[in-house]
Symmetry: C2
Subunit: 285 residues, 2 copies
């Protein structure tokens, strides 16, 4: 079991990781390739103390090299959901499962824009995880929205258990989709729903289904774990980077402004040390 699972490989996540390792904890960082960071494209970053006149690319590379030098293991993959299991957590990372005593959420800027009616129908037909919820819709009709190729394996899984699968993809060249799937290039406009989800509205058509699976690159952070207290679009934390759920911490842009590297790095450190304290207390008990 991991001591600390860190979601996000940006400045906050990597700072948490090196500090977890420093305190002799088993950590793992889950995230996208560091080259996908927005900082990576920055022409120059001058306000992170000690590194003057560096490009975003140089900065990210130094960060990643630092983490690698300290033996931080990184796992490229998207964390879909976190489940609480008493005194530890299980993370579903694209259907690989990892156990961890604590979790630090460092997913960066809250960039997901939800669809009309999406929020209110979560648990009533809106899902972010085919593996988790697919069986609920066995022999029924479902609509799946995918942002990247990554969604296709989930589409195929659903096509094996559901009656009809409509797959709405916003990217162009679909790769491996079962022939039974109704594949549509397009963008969702809003959820169709009465008491329960009834389908998905696109620009020029409506697709009927008992569930809508939204397989985006990023899961809305508030949906990662059930019951996480938010403050608008950002995660509510105190000065120890504790969320309202014990053992779950947050750091960096996902906790709110200022969206700055130094803040993220500082919060990553604090979150890691809070997690370390929590783990040591738990092990002693």
């Amino acid at each position: 079991m991991l001591d600390i699972a860190i979601i996000g490989a940006g400045p906050a996540g990597l700072s948490a990781a090196i500090n977890g390792v420093t305190r002799n904890k088993r950590v793992m960082v889950f995230g996208n390739k560091p080259t996908s960071s927005l900082i990576y494209k920055a022409e120059q970053v001058n306000n992170y103390l000690g590194m003057y006149g560096v490009t975003g690319k140089e900065m990210i590379e130094q960060y990643v090299d630092h983490a690698k030098s300290m033996g931080v293991p990184m796992h490229i993959g998207k964390v879909i959901q976190i489940f609480s299991l008493g005194d530890y957590y299980t993370l579903n990372v694209e259907n690989e499962f990892f156990e961890a005593r604590t979790v630090i959420i460092a997913t960066g800027l809250p960039m997901v824009k939800m669809l009309p009616k999406e929020e209110e129908f979560i648990g009533k037909g809106i899902s972010y995880c085919a593996t988790c919820d697919g069986m609920l819709y066995k022999d029924k009709d479902v609509v799946v929205f995918g942002e990247t190729h990554e969604a296709e394996k989930d589409v195929n899984y659903l096509s094996e258990i559901c009656r009809n699968v409509h797959y709405v993809h916003q990217y162009k060249d679909v790769k491996h989709i079962n022939h039974t799937v109704n594949s549509i290039h397009g963008k969702p406009k809003e959820i169709i729903a009465g008491d329960y989800v009834e389908g998905l509205k696109l620009k020029d058509q409506e697709l009927k289904g008992n569930a809508v699976f939204l397989l985006r690159e990023t899961t809305p952070v508030s949906k990662l774990i059930s019951g996480l207290e938010m403050n608008g679009k950002t995660i509510q934390v105190n000065r120890h980077m504790e969320t309202n759920i014990s053992g779950i911490y947050a750091a960096g842009d996902c906790t709110g402004t200022p969206y700055q590297i130094s803040k993220a790095v500082g919060e990553g450190l604090i979150a890691a040390l809070s997690a370390v304290t929590y783990i040591d207390r738990q092990k002693a008990a």
Copy 2:
């Protein structure tokens, strides 16, 4: 007038400074020589993201170089007191005076150990500032405690206006003391007081005086400005690094644990941005 006066030239202060400059504000850093930092003596620092395997000396030098590259002005000197003057502040820096719209306190670890009865007799004969309070004791007897040579000019000033000056110095080679001063090598044990201060007790003698001036290297941070809300020995701040006094911010070790560079750097950034918002709002009003 300065936009932001920053007290402390450690990681928190320098991070605040480079971010103030980035936002086009007039800043000045007041502090000791950076070589006096505790970090300077660290053999290796590995947990500040992006700088792996550096010595404390290298780290501090890179920090100072960064600040210099961005044109941050530094003033070596001890801030004795901050006075509120309505919508701006005046800083007494060893009897040079500076005006500033906002102040960021980044004085580091709360290392001053107060004497028995010191806290309760502040304003009743305990003083940290000869220039500020000396005239109150004209033609009276005072005891002065000095930690370094820096105190000597204040001792001489007091010797010109007071009747008897006892000077207790914890360092050995006193340099320039007026011949009227009663000079004693020793360490204070406690304040002697009834309703008001009556003197200072040493290990083997008692010195009578109407006031005791404690001229330490560091002023207790809670005494820098009147009314500053503390949380034990650390300054009470919220997540914007705001203290209870508007226009006064704090960052780094003086706001509490963890005593770590990343936290200090992050808080310095946040304090600077909060000060910038405050200044811009004030200028717009």
